[in-house]
Symmetry: C2
Subunit: 376 residues, 2 copies
């Protein structure tokens, strides 16, 4: 096993923020990068052609879902995930661990792995570090993730156990890995506990993998706790490897993450919000169900050049929302993904120009965060 | 009021079949033509860009639905239907009559019009020939339809009354019409009764409108009855005007309709079937939920050049169907519409080449019709 193709070139830095290029077998990722999520081998409600038009480069798909349906062997038989879903650009699969802990009906964790029941039909299954790697090798993404245990962020005793287990499992994942064209990233755990995070970051860094992921954040802790953990990790993680903050994707979290050294993000937020009629704008989110948009001839975001914003009014999209037409989800998904991709492109340009700190302050001042619970 | 822009040039004929060009303010329609239906100002589950890629030229939208939601005044304020939904090519609206009779909760017909309750919220509304034309003028389609009464096809007494009323209402529609950039088509009724159909065809033809529609078919009568009525109408309808068979759109009905002199068709079938996982192929319909497609690496239809067939396997689309992903409806809709548009293009080419009768026989021999009830 060699990870030779997976080099990361840092192009520019500004304080902790970095702009780089991560080389994968399916093309270069210009970082910082946001990955839309195609849970079931499709980014919900849009085609790969529409996704490409948003400027997206990296797409994440979920091992747990694809293992259950249609099955990883079938995907392998169909030529792998890129070919199956017709996404010729870089892809990333998670390990299935997070979904086993968050979605499956019942689960039993032991040192060897996790036994769980499918959320679809209640059937019994088991994931181990070895089987997670095997499934991810069948799926064939460019970046694959170690099988880890994501603990409740504020439970110290649980996080201590989870970190030990996550590290043992990482060693087993590295040993199980057999494909040379996939980059395995280890995952740092440790909840909101600085000492545990340091310990985990040191261990994962010592494995010298092509990238390091930060797990167990954006799962219930406060924003201040998330930022504190990123600040703890920054000096420990290798500067020459991409850093991937898993499951994070609100505009403000992307900006704050890059400020703290993160290179890669993924989140279902842009497409999930779209299905709840909620759209990103530079001044915050708007809900297109709102009657105030009934006669609004502006696009969702007049600064945006996406297909939805170039062609359609808020009035039309509100009509689609009220009439429960699928095109509403499609258009808002296209916009929301484009918004985050454009944000990342602007962030990258700002880092290269040396004015990212100013950009971030401006953005965070203009963008009003939504205090209400995110739709789930 | 003048209908000057709406000329119809016959390019070629073969027996009763015709190939022509109908000129509208939003472009030429090459006939025979099939119009996909955008009930609520969107062809369900696809964008106008995807619709354009199928080769569609004419789109039908429903006056009843748009009157109720978002309201015709709002559409007019937004610049009309073409602008609102971003379909810059020809459009057609029906009169609302058919939906009032088939969809609304309760209705009361009198000589002046129809009072009905909305299927959305039970609110009370009234359509008259005058108000239908007014609403259609607010929507602004290129082709608008007279307000008619569509009777149960086999009820002679009802059809006699409905024909009289439809003719009276047509005169009122003609008188009410005020926009010169819209072509008003009259509608022939008469159920499955040859004498009534003849009487209606003679009356509607005498109005010298830019086109004639054939209503009250494909609503419960047999195929043989439909064909018999088309044969009755053929010698009566003016040869120089386009003939529009309303609500008809299965592949075999299109071929049989053109054989009997029809120029324009519309139907929800391709998109409705798509939402039931059913796809057209040259040998008949296939249901992509079928387990037999789980590992099928072929496209839906290997003779088709649409986006779905050029890029995706049946195995992938079946996965999307099973996983209840919206992309399944999108891809199958794109294919089904493309299939009917290609069929019409092939029919037109065959008429021009003088071998349409042979083409029709071949097509109808290969295409196995589905005996089961269409999804509704």
């Amino acid at each position: 096993m060699t990870n030779l193709p997976f080099t990361y070139d840092i192009i520019a830095t500004e304080k902790n923020a970095r702009a780089g290029v991560f080389h994968t077998p399916h093309g270069d990722l210009l970082t910082p990068v946001f990955a839309p999520v195609g849970t079931q081998a499709t980014v919900k409600s849009i085609t790969p052609a529409q996704l490409k038009e948003t400027g997206a480069s990296l797409v994440l798909s979920n091992t747990y879902h694809l293992y259950l349906r249609p099955g990883a062997e079938l995907v392998a038989e169909m030529g792998g995930l890129h070919e199956f879903m017709q996404w010729p650009n870089p892809m990333l699969t998670d390990s299935g661990g997070f979904q086993v802990f968050s979605l499956s009906n019942t689960r039993k964790v032991d040192e060897e792995g996790v036994t769980f029941k499918s959320h679809i039909d209640g059937s019994s299954h088991r994931f181990t570090p070895e089987s997670s790697i095997k499934v991810q090798e069948q799926l064939g993404a460019d970046i694959i993730m170690a099988f880890d245990e994501c603990a409740t962020p504020n439970d110290l005793a649980y996080n201590k156990r989870a970190v030990v287990r996550t590290h043992n499992w990482l060693k087993r994942c590295v040993a199980a890995k057999s494909r040379s064209d996939q980059a395995l990233f280890g995952i740092v755990q440790g909840g909101v506990f600085a000492d545990l995070r340091r310990e985990s970051a040191e261990f994962v860094s010592s494995m010298d993998l092509p990238g390091v992921a930060i797990g167990g954040l954006s799962v219930g802790e406060t924003k201040a706790e998330m930022h504190a953990m990123l600040d703890v990790l920054h000096p420990i993680l290798p500067t020459t490897k991409p850093r991937y903050l898993m499951g994070v994707g609100s505009p403000e979290d992307l900006v704050n993450g890059v400020l703290r050294g993160v290179d890669i993000f993924d989140c279902v937020l842009p497409t999930r919000l779209a299905r709840h009629q909620s759209a990103f704008t530079p001044s915050g989110r708007i809900n297109l169900m709102n009657a105030g948009f009934a006669r609004d001839t502006q696009p969702i975001d007049s600064t945006c050049n996406c297909y939805a914003c170039k062609n359609f009014t808020r009035a039309y999209i509100r009509h689609l929302v009220v009439a429960k037409e699928m095109l509403a989800s499609t258009l808002i998904s296209i916009h929301n993904i484009s918004f985050l991709i454009n944000l990342m492109n602007n962030i990258r340009a700002a880092i290269k120009a040396g004015n990212f700190e100013l950009f971030a302050a401006d953005f965070l001042r203009s963008y009003k965060t939504n205090k209400k619970q995110e739709p789930s």
